[in-house]
């Protein structure tokens, strides 16, 4: 049974468009005749699913997004915020590839603030509190209005598979069968060339509060048991992870007096390169509050420990997102910080960030009262833990396609990551590649040296993870090159040429923007004056001994900490002033000048890495036949399946001599292939 979500109540028997909605029929004609066949199917409407479906449609594939409840598309099931340090980087990269979450955050936020402003622009973390309802509404609008994208509401029961042809078996010995579509709960089938699973925590999902556990993917939603069984039957290695969410508190029951109030940035930094400002003025934005816990909390936690299933069991939880119970057990401080974050403009609830817990509800009620200002707090929704299955991500390649089942992709939390942004980034890559596979085009891979997306996927697919993987800036070895300000420079052109997921409009805007930047920098580099001159222009005190050293304006900017002083210099170049975007342009120029010195070093490191990345290891390599390698090394390589020599070096236990033997083996294979071709 399928319902048109825009016009609820119109039941449609087959998968087709609602007769009433013109927009649903944006791609008329041949689509309608063949409505059980798609190029790409995306299962799941979370952050990975939405990006995947949208990306696939942008590449030009007829795409179906199947979710068991269309009303939950774009649901923010945990914290009411997007971005942060490392995560903001991912969002900028998603946006550079014309993804959607950044744009939607720019029109759904309640409080925009860049984190880490004191630490240097390479690690600035663009972040915003988001109104859950607005985000969901805007995301659903986006999804329903994307050309070539069809939304189907139904549970997916099983995958459709078929045997492989001989050729595929040869190139990928691990392959068992090919995925050709999905079987729905109502017994109908939908066919597609590629299928992306973005089921999040819904595979064997279990919610725990105290000792009570119930099967569910998210509070109030049923888990996907049938699908989980199918995946297990296919022989995937499955692990178990846990995560948690804090209680929600009624705003009316909180005493804000005495808490620290945090205001939004002015001006607010938009997430998307396409926007010069966010939808709401800083003065109209909501505020956040921080407060501290009181000493009695420890007793409550210890008293309820025997009633706390998740804490007792110690499954693989994230070290960086521990429950308040684990914090108390591990660190034993007098007080812990808590954040009160708005859930949205119309919401009467607050999100108690920093207070994840899984203790029974009656203890949670006691515990929150031991927070300064929450003495009379009423819990709107208790905190809970979620345990779920994840797939060992070493079973997928860098396009996120599984080795075992060609045509089947995994993206998002199913791969052992945590966070909306990590999920969205994977969704985008899976969506692009699933679509490119359907169109028989080359893969699109973002390399480690090109973006945090590359770091994320490379880490996952070669090293795996045993705790929910979250992005940090320290995970990247090229932090000064992979900055939030230059994601468009790094990825938009590639997205346009190599992925086909960037629209003409965005490409034109980006080129224009980069041209202005490049021209401005050239101009600043060409302007050479004495240090005294620049000091005077910037409004700094004159040096006691006038310096005769001359430097370019660009060079001088690099050492200038004072933003206002920098602006005074830039205003000395009237050609640089472009109405409306001065602020962000000035900022970018300053960032460029700051890191210019270090970039040469980093460039040579990147070149070295890229040389090694260019030495590809064929997918079908049979490590067991490489007898010159130690058995242990062979096993490790077979498990990690490095894509190239650079990735192979990161596999633990691989020695230099093993690498040489590996390289030799690859070359022999290549030569053999070449000679057979001749």
């Amino acid at each position: 049974m399928i319902i048109c979500t825009l016009h609820k109540g119109h039941l449609i028997k087959t998968i087709t468009h609602c007769a009433k909605c013109a927009l649903h029929q944006s791609s008329k004609g041949r689509d309608q005749g063949d409505n059980k066949k798609f190029d790409v199917i995306v299962v799941g409407g979370g952050h990975a699913g939405c990006e995947a479906a949208a990306a696939s449609a942008r590449v030009g594939c007829k795409t179906a997004l199947i979710t068991h409840k269309t009303s939950t598309i774009g649901e923010m099931s945990c914290n009411p915020s997007f971005g942060g340090i490392g995560k903001g980087h991912l969002m900028r990269e998603i946006d550079a590839l014309d993804g959607i979450c950044a744009r939607i955050c720019d029109i759904s936020g309640t409080h925009y603030k860049v984190l880490n402003q004191s630490s240097g622009p390479a690690v600035w973390g663009l972040r915003a509190q988001i109104d859950r309802n607005l985000y969901k509404k805007h995301m659903q609008d986006e999804m329903f209005h994307t050309p070539k994208l069809h939304i189907v509401e139904c549970s997916v029961e099983d995958l459709l598979t078929e045997d492989l042809n001989a050729q595929l078996t040869e190139t990928n010995p691990d392959a068992k069968c090919r995925c050709t579509g999905v079987l729905l709960e109502d017994g109908s089938t939908i066919k597609a060339k590629s299928v992306i699973l973005t089921t999040g925590t819904f595979l064997h999902g279990q919610i725990c509060i105290g000792l009570n556990t119930s099967s569910a993917g998210r509070m109030g939603d049923k888990p996907s048991i049938g699908l989980a069984k199918t995946i297990k039957d296919l022989g995937f290695t499955i692990g178990r992870m846990k995560t948690g969410t804090p209680p929600r508190i009624y705003k009316r029951s909180v005493r804000f007096k005495g808490m620290t109030e945090h205001f939004a940035d002015n001006p607010s930094h938009p997430f998307s390169f396409e926007n010069n400002k966010v939808w709401i003025a800083p003065k109209d934005q909501l505020t956040c509050h921080t407060t501290l816990t009181k000493p009695g909390l420890k007793k409550v936690v210890l008293d309820s420990l025997h009633l706390n299933k998740l804490v007792v069991e110690e499954a693989n939880g994230p070290r960086y997102c521990p429950s308040i119970e684990s914090k108390i057990l591990r660190f034993n401080q007098d007080a812990y910080h808590c954040w009160l974050e708005p859930e949205g403009f119309d919401s009467d609830q607050l999100y108690l960030q920093g207070f994840n817990c899984t203790m029974p509800l009656e203890y949670q009620e006691q515990a929150v009262k031991l927070i300064d200002g929450l003495e009379n707090a009423e819990i709107a929704q208790p905190g809970y833990g979620v345990e779920y299955d994840y797939m060992d991500p070493r079973q997928i390649n860098q396009t996120l396609e599984t080795y075992k089942v060609p045509g089947l992709y995994f993206a998002g939390q199913i791969n052992g990551t945590t966070g909306y942004e990590e999920a969205a980034a994977q969704g985008l890559i899976a969506g692009v590649n699933a679509a490119r596979r359907a169109k028989s085009l080359n893969n699109f891979v973002v390399r480690r040296s090109e973006g945090y997306i590359g770091v994320l996927i490379d880490d996952l697919t070669t090293l795996g993870t045993n705790e929910p993987y979250r992005m940090f800036t320290s995970r990247s070895e090229f932090r000064m090159t992979l900055r939030p300000d230059n994601a468009d420079q790094r990825l938009t052109l590639r997205g346009y040429n190599d992925a086909g997921c960037v629209s003409n409009g965005r490409m034109i805007n980006t080129e224009k923007r980069l041209k202005v930047l490049e021209k401005s920098i050239l101009e600043l580099k060409a302007a050479t004056k004495s240090v005294s001159y620049w000091r005077k222009l910037s409004g700094m005190e004159a040096l006691k001994a006038p310096s005769s050293t001359t430097v370019s304006a660009f060079h001088f900017l690099a050492r200038l900490r004072d933003k206002e002083a920098a602006k005074r210099i830039l205003r000395g170049f009237p050609q640089l002033t472009i109405a409306d975007c001065d602020h962000w342009l000035f900022q970018r120029i300053q960032v460029e000048s700051l890191y210019a010195v270090m970039l040469n070093t980093q460039r040579s490191q990147i070149e070295a890495l890229q040389k090694e990345e260019n030495l590809l290891i064929p997918d079908n390599i049979d490590y067991s036949g490489l007898e010159s390698l130690k058995l242990e090394v062979r096993e490790k390589l077979a498990k990690a399946r490095p894509l190239n020599i650079a990735a192979a070096t990161r596999v633990q236990g691989v020695t230099p001599s093993a690498l040489v033997h590996l390289i030799y083996h690859i070359k022999t294979l290549q030569n053999k292939r070449n000679s057979t071709l001749l």
């Binding site: 070895e477 230099p656 030799y664």
Partner: protein, 505 residues
């Protein structure tokens, strides 16, 4: 206001309570090969050099340079402004670019890209095969900016990447690399035992911890209220390590010794056999010997080669109060030589031990004190030689670490003394105690340490400007140390972060 104060004090207690939760799981994750792998692969391209001929003593040794800066390196070391055309062989003296001292005369082969083994600009210096010569040329090359010692397999890898190797060669070289890296690792582990190892480990830990705290500040500082104190501590720590490494580097004048020779001073009371010992070591009658105390009046210097290392031996006048003006001057010169020496061979007569039941160490100390030498001995390498045991057999005891019982007359105990003596010389030149060649590992150590110190300095300079740049320099510094004592990876840093800070929301 009240709340602000609380936040601040909380940040401080957090820092206190967290920083004492133990340091690093350094051993936890580091598999034995990681350091080498990282060296082998993810290093920058740059220009590399290495001693490429076989190990052990040989007539001619080959030192190869490959990379963009090959020409500059050749010019710098041969002092030729205009180089001959490529594919030409020429003979040239080699000079140390920093000290300007002459190192050797060499045959130089020069190949321009792409017609070379690696496909890059390359040159080969064929120098005389003495370990000291090789070490000094390597030292000279490492002093040229942009050059770095090759990691194991670097040349092969470049050749391979530039399509210059045929497959059998790769196979053969793979085995060689295996032997080399395994050997290197063993050697590194061997060397790493003892005081030097614990020193490097401490530094690594200290930088790793600072680095981790700096990373924590970047990734979690703001939303976890870590406080600026974290950063202040990092700066203090980094300054501390930087100073320690600088001091360590200045302490060892090994490169200088290699070029100018190890200064050995034979000292002692009159008529204990100093000149006889000198003649025995030099194997010629360099000094006049007689039974008359005070025969040697001036300093007698002899340059010689011990196991391929240059040594400058000084025989000095016997130390005693004298009224003779000439002898007085001789004694004062002897004191000067003792001050300058890298290695002091302090001779005693077995006779002087007879009367005393005290152990030798105390006796020597007494003698040294009487002579006012204790201060000069401090920090120097010392060998005590008890001579003339033929006269007094019962005083002969087991040789200990630095005390030897010999008879210059009938050569008793001489061979074990000489063996130890040459080991000391090698050590002073920075050679390892394993094998008979000057250790490339050591050469690399020095380079890595110097780079490490320099990167730390740059980190210190940048903390105020941009913490990301500072962190990058720390990362580079740590990477340099990691090349000596084992790899450090991002996960390790994250481990420290999670051990030391209460992070999470």
């Amino acid at each position: 206001m009240n709340c602000c104060v609380r936040l601040l004090s909380n940040a401080l207690t957090l820092q206190k309570s967290c920083s004492c939760t133990g340091i690093i799981g350094l051993k936890k994750r580091a598999p034995p090969y990681r350091g080498i792998i990282r060296n082998y692969t993810a290093t920058q391209l740059g220009t590399i050099f290495a001693h490429s001929s076989g190990f052990g003593k040989c007539g001619v040794a080959v030192i190869r340079v490959s990379g963009e800066k090959t020409k500059q390196a050749m010019s710098a070391i041969t002092k030729k402004k205009k180089l001959p055309n490529a594919k030409r062989v020429f003979v040239s003296r080699l000079w140390h670019p920093k000290s300007n001292s002459m190192l050797d005369r060499a045959v130089v082969f020069w190949f321009a890209a792409p017609s070379s083994f690696t496909g890059e600009d390359m040159c080969e210096f064929q120098v005389h095969g003495g370990p000291a010569v090789i070490a000094s040329v390597l030292d000279a090359l490492s002093s040229i900016e942009g050059l770095r010692p090759a990691e194991a397999g670097d040349f092969t890898k470049r050749a391979f990447l530039n399509d210059k190797l045929d497959l059998t060669e790769v196979e053969g070289l793979g085995d060689l690399i295996h032997a080399e890296t395994e050997g290197q690792r063993r050697q590194a582990v061997h060397q790493m035992e003892g005081s030097l190892s614990s020193l490097y480990q401490t530094w690594t830990k200290q930088i790793l911890k600072s680095m981790a705290h700096c990373e924590a500040f970047i990734d979690f500082g703001e939303d976890q209220h870590l406080g600026d104190q974290v950063l202040t501590n990092v700066v203090t720590e980094v300054k501390d390590v930087q100073l320690k490494i600088e001091t360590h580097l200045q302490d060892s004048h090994r490169g200088e010794r290699l070029r100018n020779g190890v200064r050995v001073c034979i000292a002692g009371l009159p008529n204990v056999g100093k000149s006889t010992l000198l003649n025995l070591i030099t194997q010629r009658q360099a000094a006049i010997v007689s039974p008359i105390a005070g025969t040697t009046r001036d300093v007698i210097e002899t340059a010689l080669d011990i196991d391929g290392f240059p040594v400058l031996m000084s025989d000095t006048a016997g130390l005693r109060q004298s009224e003779d003006i000439i002898e007085k001057e001789g004694v004062s010169r002897a004191f000067k030589k003792i001050k300058e020496a890298d290695l002091i061979v302090f001779l005693l007569c077995a006779d002087s031990l007879k009367s005393s039941s005290k152990d030798v160490g105390q006796l020597i100390e007494k003698q040294a004190k009487e002579l006012g030498l204790l201060k000069d001995f401090y920090g120097k390498q010392l060998l005590y030689v008890v001579n003339k045991i033929d006269l007094n057999m019962d005083t002969a005891q087991e040789n200990s670490d630095n005390t030897f019982y010999v008879s210059c007359k009938n050569m008793d105990g001489m061979s074990s003394f000489l063996k130890h003596f040459s080991t000391c010389i090698k050590d002073l030149c920075g050679a390892t105690s394993i094998g008979s060649i000057p250790s490339i590992t050591q050469q690399r150590h020095r380079k890595h340490l110097a780079d490490c110190a320099q990167f730390l300095q740059q980190a210190i300079d940048n903390f105020d400007l941009d913490i990301v740049i500072a962190a990058e320099y720390m990362r580079m510094a740590l990477h340099e140390l990691g090349k000596i004592s084992g790899k450090v990876d991002a996960e390790q840093i994250l481990d420290v972060i999670f051990q030391d800070f209460c992070i999470g929301k």
